[in-house]
Symmetry: C2
Subunit: 144 residues, 2 copies
Amino acid sequence: MTEPDAVPDLPWTVAAFAARTGVPPTTLRYWDDEGLLPAHRLDNGHRRYGPDDLPRLEMVRMCQGLGCTMDEVRLVLDAPDPAARARFAAEKLPEVLGRIELLRVAADVLRHVAVCEHTDATSCGAWMRSVLEPPGERPDLRAG
Amino acid sequence: MTEPDAVPDLPWTVAAFAARTGVPPTTLRYWDDEGLLPAHRLDNGHRRYGPDDLPRLEMVRMCQGLGCTMDEVRLVLDAPDPAARARFAAEKLPEVLGRIELLRVAADVLRHVAVCEHTDATSCGAWMRSVLEPPGERPDLRAG
DNA sequence: GCTTGACTTCGAGTCAACTCGAAGGTGTGC
DNA sequence: GCACACCTTCGAGTTGACTCGAAGTCAAGC
Ligand SMILES: [Zn+2]
Ligand SMILES: [Zn+2]
Ligand SMILES: [Zn+2]
Ligand SMILES: [Zn+2]
C-alpha cells in the first residue's frame, strides 16, 4: 500500500488508470479536456480516477466502436434530458442493425476468400456475386 | 447519344462514373492515384471507366466498411499470390465476427437507452451491466 | 537542498482519407 | 478563332482523434 489513500474513493492517478484500462495517459487527459470522461481533481490540480469512472469509460469505448463522434458520445452520456438521449439511441439503432447485416455479408466473403484460388480477386464470381447482389439468395461461398 | 463511343467498353468519364456510383470525382482520382481503383487511360491521358470496374469499386467500398486501411484493401485486391490474400482473409475473419458480437451488445444497449428514463446515463444498471460484463475477452472495438 | 519522477498546461505535430484550388491541356459548338 | 466545359497534375488544406514536446509544478528519498 504505497497509496496514502487521502481520497479513499479516488485511488488512481492518470498513469494508474491508464494501466488499468489500457487507455493511454495522453488520451485520458484528452478525454478529460474534451469532457468525454471528466476526471476528479485534487487540490493541487492533479487528476484522479475512481471505480465510479469505469462504467463511463466503457461507455465511451463502446460508443467509439459504434463509430460515434465525440459529440455524439457526449450527447449520449450528458444529454440534459433523457428524451434527447433516447431519441438519439432510437435513431442510431437501425444504423447499427444495418452494420451488423453488412458485416455478415463481409464475413461470408472473407470465408470464401480464405479458400479461393482465383488469381484475380475480382474475377471470382463466387464472392463478387454476394457483394454485388446483397438482397436475395446467398449462394454457398465455401464452394470454389 | 452524345457519347461517340470511341472505346465501346469504356463508356464513362470520371464525372459519369462518379454520377453512376456515388463516389465523388475527386475520390475516384484519389483512388486511381493510390492504386485502389486504377482507371483506364485514353491517349490524351483522360481517365475512362467501364463496367469491368464496378466489381472492384464495390469491393473497395465493402473493405472500407470492414474498417480496412487502403493498404489492406490493396492487399486483398492485388495480392501477388492468392495465398497472401487467403491468409489475410483468414486473419480478418475472427475480427469481423468479434465486431458483429460487439455490435449486437451495442444494439441491446441502444434498445434499452431508447426507453430508459434515468437522468444519469451511467447510473442505469440495466445497460451498464451489458456493457461491463461481456462474457470473455473484449476485442478492440475501434476500426482496424 | 537537490535529484527524480510523475504530474500540470498549452501549442504544435501526426495520421488517414479525402478535398480543394491553381494552372494549364483538350475538344465540341458556333 | 474563340468560348466553354471538362479534363489533367500537383501541392496544399481539412477533419477528427489523438500524440508529442517544452516549460513548469509538486512530493518523496537521500
Ligand atoms: Zn468519477
Ligand atoms: Zn473464388
Ligand atoms: Zn477496368
Ligand atoms: Zn435504464
